[in-house]
């Protein structure tokens, strides 16, 4: 698979029809309510009777309990997103691939973390999500790399190459993984808006706006987290360009002052949609509620867009978000049950629409 999208036109009709059908098969509110009251074994059985049947049967012999659920979720997600890339043509492929590069970033980070913790190859491989733009052979070469330097070498020709090379010096100086992981994340977010294809109708420009919103939210989240943790880290280091809310200098000043940040958000384009969550944030202690609210706002907005612009990238994107939500929700339920949380506590953690 390559980034280069041919000049052929997008096959929105076909992809949208399939995606809508798959979206209808995702777990709904009732399913979640049932799941939160089950033990891990029951969750596994429930999943065996749903979309996840194939993965559960494949992996059932090797893993058990929460691990089984988690690997089945990962593999199923990889399968569905791989399908999207297989179907999509023309500019649509480019839009989808752009977003799915986040799994490439995830894989690179997993390999690097695995190497630094000296995990076995099999363990690292089990944690990879094989979707996104990296070919199978490139991923294999990543796995075979014996050191972080080799990983950087393998990635030389990908979008992550230049950023990683810069970060490698930092890593060698400090011995910490943070600069490298940061470089991977930033390379991903910066490639998100790079060289957008020239086809810009209303729906596509909304999609671009959407990606911008995601970058903005990510920045807000980072700033809030850093402000709460009280760590004396330079926020500018973590700043991702391309959003429309802040510049790198601004966020530095705002991160130290949560109230100012909230005021700023209220005045921004997102103010109206975020009014409720912002009120909560001002009163509440924890960030978790606010972060969940951010996700909910993004998800609701993507659903709306997919209804307003049926023949565009929006339905596909909304499916990708919904599927990711499902995987995260089921994982949270399984982990929560294992840790002995009760149903209400888990339900508070879920993002359901």
């Amino acid at each position: 698979m390559s980034t280069a999208s041919s000049s052929s036109s997008s096959n929105y009709e076909y992809v949208t029809a399939r995606v809508r059908s798959r979206k209808a098969k995702l777990f709904d509110e009732d399913d979640y309510r049932q799941l939160t009251r089950m033990g891990t074994g029951e969750i596994a059985r429930f999943m065996e009777e749903s979309e996840y049947e194939e993965e559960m049967n494949d992996l059932g012999a090797r893993y058990s309990g929460v691990d089984l659920i988690e690997f089945a979720l990962n593999r199923n997600r990889a399968k569905h997103f791989e399908d999207l890339l297989r179907w999509a043509e023309g500019p649509l492929y480019d839009y989808v691939a752009r977003y799915l590069r986040r799994f490439d970033a995830w894989n690179v980070k997993t390999v690097i973390r695995g190497l630094s913790s000296e995990a076995d190859r099999e363990d690292i491989e089990a944690d990879l999500v094989r979707t996104g733009e990296f070919s199978g052979s490139l991923t294999d070469r990543l796995l075979e790399a014996g050191s972080i330097e080799e990983v950087v070498e393998v990635l030389d020709h990908t979008a992550f190459g230049p950023a990683l090379e810069d970060a490698l010096d930092d890593y060698e100086e400090s011995g910490q993984l943070v600069p490298i992981e940061n470089a991977v994340d930033r390379a991903y977010y910066e490639s998100l808006l790079e060289n957008m294809p020239a086809e810009t109708d209303r729906a596509t420009s909304l999609y671009i706006e959407f990606l911008r919103a995601e970058i903005d939210f990510r920045n807000v989240r980072n700033a809030l987290r850093l402000a709460r943790s009280g760590a004396s880290v330079d926020v500018g280091e973590y700043f991702i360009g391309g959003g429309r809310l802040f510049s790198a200098e601004e966020i530095d000043g705002l991160a130290g002052n949560t109230n100012e940040l909230i005021a700023r958000l209220r005045d921004s384009v997102y103010g109206e949609r975020l009014a409720g969550p912002l009120d909560d944030l001002e009163n509440a202690e924890s960030l978790i509620g606010f972060e969940r609210a951010l996700e909910e706002v993004l998800l609701a907005y993507s659903n709306r867009l997919s209804q307003l612009y049926p023949l565009s990238v929006c339905p596909v994107f909304s499916y990708v978000l919904a599927k990711e939500r499902e995987v995260r929700n089921v994982r949270a339920i399984a982990r929560g049950r294992e840790a002995g949380l009760d149903a209400e506590e888990i339900e508070n953690e879920l993002v359901v629409l």
């Binding site: 076909y14 399939r18 059908s21 798959r22």
Partner: protein
């Protein structure tokens, strides 16, 4: 280009009859209608195949929706009997 048109027009005018005879006009009308139906069916067909791939029960419904624009051609066929 323009000389060609001028030449064509003068030939037609000298011939005395209409440039496009009625039956030829009707034929063009049907042909254009069929072209429109084809364009409409392109999108619907693609979506129908997608839906069928996900769920076999959609085959019948997909087929019906796919051929709906065919009514355009049938209606256009009326012109053949009118002229």
């Amino acid at each position: 280009m323009f000389e060609l048109i001028a030449a064509f027009v003068s030939v037609v005018l000298q011939g005395g009859g209409p440039a496009v005879p009625p039956t030829a006009g009707a034929a063009i009308a049907v042909g254009l209608a069929a072209l429109g139906a084809g364009i409409a069916e392109r999108g619907i067909g693609a979506a129908a195949v997608g839906a069928t791939a996900e769920d076999d029960d959609m085959f019948g419904r997909g087929l019906i929706l796919t051929v709906l624009p065919e009514t355009l051609v049938i209606l256009a066929l009326v012109t053949i009997f009118v002229v």
